[in-house]
């Protein structure tokens, strides 16, 4: 029998990017909020960037792929029917623990793709509505960068100056200038100067294995301490199995496994899901009942559908000089949005961005980094390594994939997590438009690499371990037949159930989604407060 606890006003499930922002917003205005998180607290001082075997951890217990980590706090994801493996981290802070903190916003056009390009759907909210929440979020996360980017409407001042370019950024910027293409110093959620009690980045490189200096924003070090100080409650090692309902069809709370493995029920007046684009549909589908036989809040049939990842192609350039490319935040230097907006003459709609990434440490370089595979063994090995190490720059081509019903999250019939909760399966293929778009991006990537002076360019057409962005699987819209939640994040079917993570995205844009995920979560929080 489930243990029962006092009812709370608002129960948030998931303490990642969206859950932290939402909880903070409510707690600071006096709301009674409890968040349940299946993972635990990370200790920044224990991250392995101070260990001699630091590079091995991204292959094992700090892999971005939960199937490789296989920790008890993770859940497995069947990714056999997808060329892109979903990546995530489970802890207070969620995937901001292991992200690279590249922090570009969506553009105004991203919210109007049906009107502008006749594909997918428009969002029920727009850039203008989100703008104050983008700015608010930046002020908590801490963003380095510089205003004036002509690819965006004007932004508020960045919290700290841009991340240093290093030779990689300088060289690539010169390449873009040679072609007259847009580029700009990346907005990065990594502070380049002390901010809010956090230390400045010292350009150590591997943001993906955790930041000991707390220079990289993760919500466990910024939003959560503020939310808890304001009175929010956060319970760790609490893994939710299903959402329960009252006889009147409203959400009653959640059943979860507590830290001791005991089943508990937490009752709440409102239930809010921030479990990412895979965890949220998984939970809704696992919450099927007599009233909701196809899964909770699924009268539209769209829970789990329209999964979008952003396909990544990797264009690696090798230069004839030492660029010290292992130094500097590995995902952040400069961006280009020359090919972001639709140009019908290209033969596809929507577009892509270039994210200039840096090289890697010696072990990861030998393993091929984000390229197609390890460098050769044998007589040519050492020469191959020396040609590459410290001398490479990387263009990550990030493309907008459109929502398609056949790309989806379902419940795997056999796979479960360590508590026996059924695990998700992803099914994904790239559409003709995405394939054309990525081919265009690879060709332009090669062009700018060559303009920058690369002596050799190698291309990995599709990065398998590149499913960082989990979007679209419970989308927002005004029509209950065609969406799962409304413009306030409220379920069309269950009036006290809200979704605040990347699941609600109608389209994916062609930029890393976290600033937009958090702005949407803050917008939903703001509306929730106004309507309470």
């Amino acid at each position: 029998m489930a243990g029962s606890r006092d009812e709370v006003d608002v129960l948030v499930i998931g303490a990642g990017a969206s859950g932290a922002a939402f909880t903070w917003s409510l707690a600071k205005d006096g709301f009674d909020v409890l968040c349940l998180e299946q993972g635990g607290w990370m200790d920044p001082s224990a991250y392995t960037t101070t260990h001699d075997d630091w590079e091995l951890h991204r292959q094992t217990d700090f892999s971005p792929d939960p199937n490789v980590r296989g920790l008890d706090v993770d859940y497995p994801v069947n990714n056999q029917d997808s060329p892109i493996a979903p990546l995530m981290y489970n802890a207070v802070g969620g995937s901001t623990i292991h992200w690279s903190a590249h922090f570009p916003r969506f553009h105004p056009s991203d919210f109007r793709v049906r009107t502008l390009d006749g594909v997918a759907d428009d969002w029920p909210i727009n850039y203008e509505q989100l703008e104050p929440f983008f700015d608010l979020n930046d002020s908590i996360m801490g963003v380095s960068g510089i205003t004036g980017d002509p690819a965006y409407p004007p932004k508020s001042p960045r919290q700290t100056p841009p991340i240093p370019f290093g030779k990689v950024g300088d060289t690539m910027a010169a390449g873009f200038e040679k072609l007259g293409w847009h580029w700009w110093p990346s907005d990065s959620a990594i502070i380049s100067a002390p901010f809010d009690g956090r230390g400045a980045c010292n350009n150590c490189g591997p943001c993906d294995i955790g930041c000991t200096r707390r220079a990289k924003a993760s919500t466990d070090i910024n939003y959560w301490p503020k939310a808890i100080a304001a009175g929010a409650k956060l319970e760790i090692s609490a893994r939710v199995r299903e959402i329960t309902l009252n006889p009147d069809g409203t959400a009653r709370g959640a059943i979860f496994y507590d830290a001791d493995g005991n089943v508990q029920e937490q009752r709440a007046k409102n239930v809010v899901l921030g479990c990412n684009g895979i965890g949220t549909p998984r939970l809704l589908l696992n919450s099927a009942s007599a009233m909701h036989p196809d899964g909770l809040s699924n009268s539209s049939g769209l829970v789990g559908k329209n999964l979008m990842f952003h396909p990544y192609s990797i264009v690696s350039g090798i230069f004839d000089e030492d660029m010290e490319s292992y130094a500097g935040p590995n995902g952040c230097s400069i961006i280009s949005q020359e090919f972001y907006e639709t140009d019908p003459s290209r033969g596809f709609v929507r577009g892509y961005a270039f994210q200039i990434a840096r090289g890697a440490g010696p072990v990861t370089t030998a393993q091929g980094g984000m390229g197609a595979g390890p460098i050769p063994w044998g007589g040519n090995h050492r020469a191959s390594f020396d040609r590459l190490f410290g001398r490479n720059a990387v263009i990550a081509v990030i493309g907008e994939d459109l929502p398609e019903l056949h790309n989806q999250v379902t419940i795997d019939p056999e796979l479960t997590d360590s508590d026996g909760i059924p695990a998700p399966k992803v099914t994904y293929t790239m559409s003709d438009n995405s394939i054309k778009l990525m081919a265009h991006g690879m060709a332009r990537g090669e062009e700018v690499m060559t303009a920058a002076g690369a002596i050799d360019v190698q291309i990995n057409p599709l990065l398998r371990r590149g499913g960082w962005h989990l979007l679209g699987t419970a989308r927002m819209g005004n029509d209950p037949a065609n969406s799962v939640v409304d413009s306030l994040g409220r379920s069309h079917d269950v009036k006290n159930l809200f979704i605040i993570d990347g699941s609600v995205f109608v389209t994916a844009g062609a930029v890393n989604p976290t600033p937009t995920i958090q702005a949407v979560a803050l917008h939903i929080a703001d509306q929730f407060k106004q309507n309470s």
């Binding site: 991250y47 392995t48 960037t49 101070t50 260990h51 001699d52 630091w54 590079e55 091995l56 292959q59 553009h107 105004p108 056009s109 919210f111 109007r112 009107t115 502008l116 004036g148 980017d149 002509p150 690819a151 100056p161 841009p162 240093p164 370019f165 290093g166 300088d170 910027a173 010169a174 200038e177 007259g180 847009h182 700009w184 110093p185 010292n202 350009n203 150590c204 490189g205 591997p206 000991t212 200096r213 292992y326 130094a327 500097g328 020359e338 972001y340 907006e341 440490g361 010696p362 072990v363 370089t365 030998a366 393993q367 390890p374 063994w377 044998g378 007589g379 090995h381 050492r382 190490f389």
Partner: protein, 151 residues
């Protein structure tokens, strides 16, 4: 003292690793450097790897015996490489793990890192100096005008 490899396997592994990453100037060959010990530790920690390495190493020994009536370590480098290429295609899982772990052990070794001209230390707490870069160039980007689509 090896954790998993027998004496024969230890000798064989060192010879194999010397061909995966051969010596080159200041860089020692992987087997001579002792990467076999690292590999032994990795294999000892996984039942799956124990199985695949036992089979894979046996395949190398048997190829040397059947093709050359000799032990692998007694063969010339070219003959060793030919055998390894055969095993690479016949025992793919073993071989890709062998290469991966050899690179892991080799490129986190202090001697190798110093031969690369780097300080043998983890990225933190020291970090790296990094040039701020030529921010003046952004004026040219601005001068090319608004780049986003008006809605």
């Amino acid at each position: 003292m090896a954790q998993f490899f027998s004496d024969e396997q230890t000798t064989l592994t060192a010879s194999i690793l010397n061909r995966i990453v051969p010596s080159d100037g200041d860089f020692p060959a992987a087997g001579d450097l002792g990467v076999g010990e690292f590999l032994d530790g990795v294999v000892a920690g996984s039942a799956e790897l124990k199985r695949s390495f036992t089979t894979g190493l046996m395949a190398v020994s048997m190829a040397a015996a059947s093709q050359h009536s000799a032990t692998f370590d007694a063969l010339a480098p070219d003959a060793q490489d030919a055998i390894l290429r055969d095993v690479e295609s016949s025992q793919q899982e073993f071989f890709s793990e062998l290469v991966r772990q050899t690179y892991n052990g080799y490129y986190m070794n202090t001697r190798v890192i110093e031969a690369l001209g780097l300080e043998a230390r983890p990225p933190q707490p020291k970090g790296f100096p990094l040039e701020v870069g030529n921010l003046d160039l952004i004026e040219q980007v601005k001068a090319r005008g608004i780049k986003y689509r008006q809605v």
